[in-house]
């Protein structure tokens, strides 16, 4: 067996988080991903940013894992020429610069089609390749703000909430999906595509239901952890400090089971809480009753008991819980990856398992800048050693 996307090659010009996560997903699925950077300006996620208030880099190790690394100076004509040669032997060219940058570099969609007619070019940007805002710069919290996800998230009496890296990576996951769809189109029609992924549109797609409601005259607003049809619904304290139990009771039967589990079957018969509508209307009393019970409970035991009773419940997990979880380990959702320096760390695997293909996953850690140039420039592009040395001397490979 092979992995599902074995045989697909990606020329990966992406930087930051969203674009690299797209190609990271595709590489876990078996695509060969060649990351293109330059020492003049390495991917800014290779370095730490003080605004995060810590010394280490961001997600670079995760999203760079599995990738091959080459240097190319795209401001040098020979660097651009080499980039085109690489695209000519690739199925996918992915990039995440501001709209227009690839064209200015001489690497726009038309230029890439000139070297490979059926190339699938994937452009990930904040606002899309077209429209009056297409030149806008942005990061995850801005995508969420533009797209409504930020406005609609938050406490009822509080401000909007900023989305973090999950927003970036959600953009990347959508981009990976669109890339595979474009490959299917190529297989069927012989034609490539320019896939245009707009991060703010990913944010709005995640609240597409609220936007549909608003378009008909409803006025959706922030509602904290509440659900308009369910109570109890939210985060409840347990016997351990800052160890929260998430709970969602959606049916009368589940409410009766919860009341029994809490040792208060009378609550199940209390007319104030008879129906979901009653429980929602009396949410404060419902929450008080559940909190009175939950704060005496051992967290993991309570979650397991609730699940045994068929009640949707889960603790609010920290990274330490996830990394150690036997279920996640058994699924390969958490894997150990070995870095170039020999150190091993926990990393996130692909979020699905396949019965008829080799499992997606990571085969190597973060590449050093330019680590795979002998393979890419020599074996793949057929450049002689002397020519490679010249290009390095000229800083086209740099």
């Amino acid at each position: 067996m092979t992995r599902p996307l074995e045989g697909i090659r990606i020329a990966d010009f992406t930087v930051h988080a969203a674009g690299p996560f797209c190609t990271h997903m595709l590489s876990q699925l078996g695509a060969e991903c060649i990351k293109i950077e330059t020492a003049l300006r390495p991917d800014i996620f290779r370095k730490p940013h003080a605004v995060y208030g810590r010394a280490g880099p961001a997600t670079f190790d995760q999203v760079a894992s599995n990738k091959l690394s080459v240097r190319l100076n795209l401001k040098h004509p020979d660097g651009v020429a080499l980039a085109k040669q690489l695209v000519a032997v690739s199925d996918v060219a992915a990039e995440s610069f501001r709209a227009g940058v690839m064209k200015r570099l001489g690497l726009g969609y038309d230029a890439l089609r000139g070297v490979r007619e059926d190339i699938v070019m994937v452009s990930v940007s904040s606002s899309g390749q077209t429209g009056p805002d297409s030149h806008f710069a942005g990061y995850a919290p801005l995508f969420g703000a533009w797209g409504g996800l930020g406005y609609l998230s938050g406490y009822r009496d509080g401000p909007p909430v900023e989305m973090r890296h999950v927003m970036d990576h959600s953009v990347g996951m959508n981009a990976a999906l669109a890339t595979v769809a474009a490959l299917h189109k190529r297989r069927r029609t012989g034609k490539g595509s320019h896939v245009d992924v707009a991060a703010r549109e990913v944010a709005s797609s995640l609240v597409g239901d609220a936007l549909a409601a608003a378009s008909a005259g409803a006025a959706p607003e922030r509602m904290g952890n509440d659900d308009p049809q369910r109570a109890p619904h939210g985060l409840y304290p347990t016997a351990e400090a800052d160890r929260w139990l998430s709970l969602a009771v959606g049916t009368d039967a589940a409410w009766h089971r919860l009341a029994a589990l809490m040792g208060q079957p009378g609550l199940g018969r209390d007319p104030r809480f008879s129906t979901a509508a009653d429980r929602v209307a009396n949410r404060a009393q419902v929450d008080a009753a559940v909190t009175g019970w939950s704060r005496t409970q051992q967290p993991e035991t309570a979650a397991a008991s609730l699940q045994r009773a068929g009640i949707p419940a889960h603790l609010s997990w920290r990274a330490s819980d996830i990394v150690a979880d036997p279920h996640m380990r058994a699924r390969g959702a958490i894997v150990d990856v070995t870095e170039t320096d020999g150190a091993t760390r926990a990393a996130v695997g692909f979020p699905a398992r396949f019965s008829g293909s080799d499992q997606p996953g990571m085969t190597r850690g973060t590449p050093e800048l330019g680590e795979h140039e002998a393979y890419v420039f020599g074996d793949l592009l057929g450049l002689a050693q002397a020519r490679i040395r010249d290009l390095i001397a000229e800083r086209a490979i740099y």
């Binding site: 996307l5 605004v51 009640i311 996130v348």
Partner: protein, 388 residues
């Protein structure tokens, strides 16, 4: 004539009671796949889920059901089950979120499906996946955002400052379940690409851990993140005269642009602040100054000036502002379709496109059983009941 869509010719059967599986189907439908919702006789429970339209119908279903077809089939009924398998036989992908414990009883366990449809990509979409010690666990949206790790880290920034003692906060809507849907669709299409009929086991929890990979990496680096400490040192959610903006400067030139935007006040031109580490350590003071200055600024004007200076800033758009937004309008991302009642609704097709034009949304979410005639060799339900 509109361009062909990337998944034209691909047929999908969707057996979905939750958002994740339905969203996977929705994304495939948006890209051109013909997606049949095989609803139970009492209809998809998603038709009864909030948010609601003013006329009472489900806006969630109007969004998730667009571009799909609907047939009703009762998998406990042998005739219906045969008709269902007739539909599946002509499909490339079956999306299913039936709980693991109920699958065999409905003939939907992987072995039975594979025996009957060896060509098929059988795409299972469950909260905790179909395999592993917690495969039987159930999970609603609020459980999944916390099982994936991001819930524990929310809110941060201004909300965390204002309400430090409140419990963690979910993201609006069905964020976590939709991550599961996107990842499942990606997995399903990748399996189809391989040409190998197979069972694909997608998990909403796994998808959320994947998009939350940052926290796992930080743990590997030796620290456990917490919502109270992961706020940006400066910037973030900033209140203005008529709303909120988001501000984030990661690069040096962006900070320099911000100083210009602020009008180069003395505090911001302090030479010590040219050092990023120093800015980080003085973040509270910087933000106090930014907040004081921004409180009198109008959002639209401020964002326009910021972007001109290369300062990453965006408005916290309301739903109405998005629906009427100049960028959204120019790109045509919303299409108006008939709602379940009297009113029309506008739905977004997909957050990506395969050329200059957006993917179309031609069909509103169908009425239950609207495509019943397409069930192969299957008499109408009402007729069969009369015969019985």
């Amino acid at each position: 004539m509109e361009d062909p869509r990337p998944l034209d010719g691909i047929r999908v059967v969707e057996r979905a009671s939750g958002v994740a599986a339905a969203y996977a189907g929705r994304l495939l439908a948006a890209m051109g796949a013909e997606v049949f919702m095989a609803e139970p006789p009492d209809h998809s429970p998603l038709r009864r889920e909030a948010p609601f339209l003013p006329g009472g119908g489900s806006a969630l279903f109007a969004y998730l059901g667009a571009e799909k077809r609907s047939v009703l089939c009762d998998l406990a009924d042998p005739v219906d089950r045969e008709a269902f398998h007739g539909l599946v036989a002509a499909a490339q992908i079956l999306i299913d979120d039936t709980p693991v414990a109920d699958r065999a009883g409905q003939g939907l366990d992987p072995a039975s499906v594979a025996a009957r449809h060896p060509h098929l990509v059988h795409l299972s979409v469950l909260p905790f996946g179909a395999e592993g010690p917690k495969a039987g666990w159930c999970g609603a949206e609020i459980n999944m955002i916390h099982a994936g790790g991001e819930g524990f880290l929310l809110p941060n920034g201004l909300s965390a400052d204002l309400f430090p003692d409140r419990p963690p906060l979910k993201i609006a809507g069905h964020f976590a379940e939709m991550q599961g849907g996107v990842a499942a669709a990606l997995a399903g299409l990748s399996a189809l690409w391989s040409g190998q009929g197979q069972f694909v086991d997608a998990s909403v929890q796994d998808a959320n851990v994947a998009v939350g990979a940052f926290a796992v990496q930080r743990f590997g680096d030796g620290s456990v993140e917490h919502r109270s400490t992961r706020s940006f040192r400066y910037g973030g959610v900033i209140e203005c005269r008529d709303g909120f903006v988001e501000l984030l400067t990661l690069e040096e030139r962006q900070w320099e642009g911000l100083v210009d935007l602020l009008g180069r006040p003395d505090w911001a031109t302090d030479p010590a602040l040219r050092d990023a580490a120093e800015r980080s350590s003085r973040g509270d003071t910087i933000n106090a100054n930014i907040r004081d200055w921004a409180s009198d600024q109008p959002v639209a004007d401020l964002v326009a000036r910021a972007q001109e200076l290369g300062v990453p800033m965006a408005p916290y758009n309301t739903p109405d502002e998005i629906l009427a937004g100049r960028q959204e309008t120019a790109r045509g991302i919303f299409r108006e379709v008939a709602g379940p009642g009297e009113e029309n609704v506008r739905v977004q097709s997909a957050p990506f496109r395969f050329g200059a034009q957006p993917l179309p949304v031609a069909q509103a979410a169908p009425a239950p059983g609207a495509d019943q005639h397409l069930l192969v060799a299957h008499p109408p339900r009402e007729a069969r009941k009369v015969q019985a």
